[in-house]
């Protein structure tokens, strides 16, 4: 399909419970197209397979059935063009901020001087200058988050895949980070895919919001967010924003209720995250 950077067709994935040997279907016949340069959010009830989907797009997991194509090529393994920001950021605690951000540049074989220069540029971009030599344990949650983003961008990816990146942040920091990510998105012109539980966040940031069914997940609906761009906090008081939120709330609520009904039956496997 032209214009699609990701083309996901009829993907199914299940996990085997090591004890009982039962197989738990997590994603069932999911299809999705994602346009290059878009900002897309994925929402859905907890345990519906969002992280699993993201890992498959990143190349960390293979679908049991169906195909995932990235720029027309099947996704078989992780690749620097598609960078995942994991739920816990995955910063290396033994490296400083600079060391962490330099890592992807080092991995592609750049010389130390060049490495440093590029890394400093991205550190500045996320406003972490002055903290180059701090270790992750010395940073606040929001700063770790930004360091993770700087590292992902330093890899110069085409696609940034983010798994609930703001989950551990307070509301104000979260809003600031949302705006920063949007700024970065418009600056670097890449594709951003965001998993989130926050409807406001999904609507505010995205051009498109994908709602997933209760497990086994598939795309329930795909909602175009036709709000003006560039997004500023003012769009949150736009009447269209409220309408979209109302619609998405209802849609998501149905699925969450299904999940809660399911949960009364025994759950076969522990959650990954």
């Amino acid at each position: 399909m032209t214009g699609s950077i990701f083309s996901i067709k009829n993907v199914s994935k299940s996990f085997k419970d090591p004890k009982s040997g039962d197989s738990l279907p997590v994603i069932n016949d999911l299809s999705l197209e994602i346009k290059g340069g878009d900002f897309v959010s994925i929402i859905g009830p907890s345990g519906c397979g969002k992280t699993t989907l993201l890992y498959q797009m990143g190349g960390f997991l293979r679908p049991d059935e169906g195909t995932i194509h990235y720029k027309g090529q099947p996704v078989l393994a992780p690749h620097p063009e598609r960078t995942v920001i994991f739920q816990e950021y995955g910063l290396f605690p033994w490296k400083t901020v600079l060391g962490n951000v330099e890592f992807p540049i080092k991995a592609r074989g750049a010389l130390p001087a060049e490495r440093r220069e590029i890394a400093l540029k991205y550190i500045k971009m996320v406003h972490l200058n002055g903290f180059e030599n701090s270790y992750p344990h010395q940073l606040s949650g929001g700063m770790k988050q930004r360091a993770g983003i700087a590292r992902a961008l330093a890899c110069q990816p085409e696609v940034v895949l983010m798994d609930e990146p703001f989950a551990s942040l307070d509301n104000i920091t979260r809003e600031i980070m949302q705006e920063e990510i949007l700024r970065l998105w418009s600056e670097v012109g890449k594709t951003f895919i965001l998993i989130t539980h926050h409807l406001d966040e999904a609507i505010f940031m995205s051009r498109r919001v994908i709602v997933m069914d209760a497990r086994p997940g598939r795309v329930k609906e795909s909602v175009e967010i036709d709000l003006p761009e560039p997004r500023t906090p003012e769009v949150k008081s736009h009447p269209r924003f409220a309408a979209l939120k109302k619609h998405l709330t209802r849609s998501l609520r149905e699925e969450v209720e299904k999940t809660i009904a399911f949960a009364k039956e025994p759950v076969p496997a522990a959650e990954v995250n």
């Binding site: 033994w94 890592f103 080092k106």
Partner: protein, 257 residues
Amino acid sequence: MKILKKALPFFAVLLIWELLFRFGLLNEYLLPSPLSVAKAGLALAGSGELFLDLFASVKRVLAGFLAAAVFGLTLGTLSGYGRSLSDAIMPLCEFLRPIPPIAWIPIAILWFGLGDNPAYFIVFIGAFFPIFINSYWGIRESRLMHLNVARNFGASRFLVLTDVLLPGSLPRILHGLRIGLGLGWTSVISAELVGAQSGLGYMIQMNRVMLKTENIIAGMVTIGLAGLLMNYLMLLLEKRLLTWRKDTLRSAETAEA
């Protein structure tokens, strides 16, 4: 203040010991007073004898420890990284590991005669296993998320080793080195009890034959102090190399020697 707190138990033991002696509860040949031990120690130190023995033991422990560190780290890292190597050598290691270093002394004397060589060997045996096992598990228990991050960025196997696996397991590796050095030190003393003509182990054994209990205890105190110092230096090294872990662990407090 802190150092005072740490020295207090030492003084308490000395005090009780001295008091027991004063009340005539100790047999002088079995346990002389701390004062006569101190005197004996000073005399041995003054004549230089004590230092010759100390240096002989330290030389042996360092040589054996260094060899164990090189082998243990290399083998542990490689078998932590590559499944097939660990499958091949782990059972052998787990079979050899429970055989204590002292149990190797007879065969070591048979193989290497008396003197430095059997001691090097015994130290090697004592120090190797903690170093090997800890570096193996350090690498093995690296966090999958960090490996995934490295894979995502297209890092080579070599870069994964140098920048992810090794630094990530450094706490465990350093711990193994510290335990290894401690075990190496106890091993060298055991080896010298029977297989050497110098060293602190030999020295205390000779003094038993001559019934000089105060010299035996002075020797034991020296062994203890040297072990304490080595452990302290290793902890210092850990603290130096693991600044990134500071404040994140409760043990960081204890490591502050």
